[in-house]
């Protein structure tokens, strides 16, 4: 079964980093309403199987476009740039220094269950995450990877986004467990 691989086409979005999340969600629901296996529960086994595959594909497409890091990675893939998240390294020394400091602050606050410090750290990291998404959108949506220098820059930006995402996730769950 060959399904539309370009999630932007599938979910009716312009192929760029900036997405209209409300429209994205609406389009996703419309398609699920049409193709969810529940709509084929009384149909032939073949139709049921196809519906499961297509519905799963839609779920993956939505989860990809709804998440900034996954969306950026998918955009790059469609442009022929693959990113191996596990083995890619960021070579921006200033960024790396800053992040080591952030990590230390995080570890200290965690060790002392310092909720106000964790919350202010969260706000700081979240702002950096948003700024990083802005950077990506400017780099990618405008340039569409015209020059190879951009590609390196874009890769690094995705790497940074991934870093911030992981840290915000950790902070969110830690803050949640402390406020309970």
């Amino acid at each position: 079964m060959k399904l539309e691989h370009n999630f932007f086409i599938l979910l009716g979005q312009a192929q760029q980093f900036t997405v209209d999340r409300a429209a994205l969600k609406k389009r996703f629901r419309t398609l699920q309403r049409e193709y969810h296996p529940d709509r084929y529960a009384a149909k032939t086994p073949q139709e049921q199987r196809l519906a499961v595959q297509f519905s799963a594909h839609l779920n993956t497409a939505f989860a990809t476009l709804d998440n900034p890091v996954k969306r950026a990675t998918h955009l790059l893939e469609l442009s022929g740039v693959t990113i191996d998240h596990q083995n890619s390294t960021i070579k921006d020394p200033i960024f790396l220094m800053q992040q080591m400091e952030t990590r230390e602050a995080f570890d200290d606050a965690r060790a002392e269950n310092d909720l106000p410090a964790l919350e202010s750290l969260f706000n700081q990291v979240n702002a950096q995450f948003n700024a990083c998404q802005q950077d990506f959108s400017i780099l990618f949506d405008a340039a569409q990877l015209s020059a190879s220098a951009d590609e390196k820059n874009v890769r690094d930006t995705v790497g940074k986004m991934q870093f911030f995402e992981k840290l915000t996730d950790e902070l969110t769950s830690l803050i949640r467990s402390l406020t309970q």
């Binding site: 969600k25 529960a41 595959q53």
Partner: protein, 639 residues
Amino acid sequence: MALLQISEPGQSPVPHQFKRAIGIDLGTTNSLVAAVANKGGADNGVANVIKDAEGRAILPSVVHYDASGAQCVGYEAQAIAVDDPYNTLASFKRLMGRGLNDVGDTSQFQIVPPKDALTDTADKNDVIRIATAAGEVTAMQASAEILKSLTARAADALGGAIEGAVITVPAYFDDAQRQATKDAATLAGLSVLRLINEPTAAAVAYGLDKADDRHIVVYDLGGGTFDVSILQLSEGVFEVLSTGGNSALGGDDFDLAIVQWALLQANTSVEQLSAQEYRRLLMDARATKESLTDNNSVALSIQSSVVTWVGELSRDAFDTLIDALVAATIAACKASLNDADLTAGEIADVVLVGGSTRVPLVRERVTALFQQAPKTDVDPDQVVALGAAIQADSLIGNNRDSDLLLLDVIPLSLGIETMGGLVEKIIHRNTSIPSTRAQEFTTYKDGQTALAVHVVQGERDLVSDCRSLARFELRGIPPMVAGAARIEVVFNVDADGILDVSAKETITGVSTHVQVKPSYGLDESEIAQMLKASYSHASEDRDARMLAEQRVEAEGLVDAVNMALAQDGNLLNDVERADIDASIAAALAVVGQSDAQAISDAVAALGRVTDTFATRRMDQSVRAALKGKSIDDVADGSL
């Protein structure tokens, strides 16, 4: 998509026929069946519980097996339980999809066979087998008896064979427990349209799926179990945020509290009563509890050979007796709120499930906690079955206007064991289902020709802290240097939350495909064996039924393909068209004959040859839908 028949609204390809679909609440203590009445009838599209010949809605989830191999279920089995406890199974839902180590203390069962009657044989997938006079029995088989009885009742009431069912399961049921429930339906010869979560069904019965985004609490106090679930409804998607409860706390404990009080008042003890007298008292206690819902004081008596006592229990005294029990359920609600990261004030609706929620003190405490009166319009014994019936009616296609679509998420992460006993999660919890994920692995030794795959479920990092679902080996990997093989492990979770794992070596083209069934489930041959044993009819009847089913499927597929060809034949080139035509001819050639296997093969062949066609039609329809809307919508940026 309707091969995928794309039909305009009101232009159904085949004249619309009412199909008999049912909703089943397969409970620990009691089970029920419900259906939505045919439109145009007196009950125009309303869900109703189907009662037995004696007018009872409830079927106690009890099965009695006797030496002749015959079984009886429900009230009949319950009546025999006193005299023949070891051959009477109750509360077997607790054993579904479980091994002995999971179940632990089996004394929690009302009627438990002695521990040594439970055999846990590793070579049979660790399914718990219970020794009875009729031989070894599994929880799946006992559940199948309940399903059969309810299905027969429904077929009588609806005037024909049941074409599909929605069965409810607790929200916390994992993959193995869901699979076991499906196995039970297979054994009962019942076609499952979908398994849905009990709290979701209760919310559907109240029509909450049509409401705005909100948080809903489902408080379910049954005979022997208490469950609380917190649901989030977001644009028609029900997500279970948290579940909690106590599997050994229920309305039966309220009855026992009254019994203890009466014995104390009468200055006597259980030992002074015969089994029959005790049973009588227990039944009177239950009646007293029910009566206290509408009365401030109820008379109760003990009549035995040694003691005669007559007393009066007031509502206040009863409230005192059950105070600690109700408090325990409220504590569980608070814990679940915490887990969901919500406060009581953020709950929009509270739905009550289970007969024990009729007790005034329960309603009072629930109201106090959530600062609102709980929903009580729908009978709390029936609400889950009614919700399941509404969903069944929608799934089978009777209610074409229905907007009901329950999008579900997976309750626990799924992963596989990697080096060092660590879990690599492949599908994370809260992922929307159905879901497909592939992950690549490789060999770590030169010349390695096999790879062991251990599938686990849970949130923890260590395999030992998670539930083991299945183990299998991928064999026949061609010898290569370490790290050269590319082994793709694919996880497929269907809309029921049931997992299917396959693995193949992709580089060499040598691919092995393995289907896994979870542990504590039954393998195909076992199901076939049990099915054979469960049919009282001669084998010809069984064959005739299989043949009829195969024919219906073949004819349905041929019709669907013909319809699709008429509409979109232009999507195919001549070779593809010829292939499909040949497969249709082949299917039509065998459908009139009496070889079920040949028909099944022809259906499979036609399915394979039309896959690409179906995909193209789907793709075309997705693009068409986009185009049709794009002009206006692109302008205002929405679809």
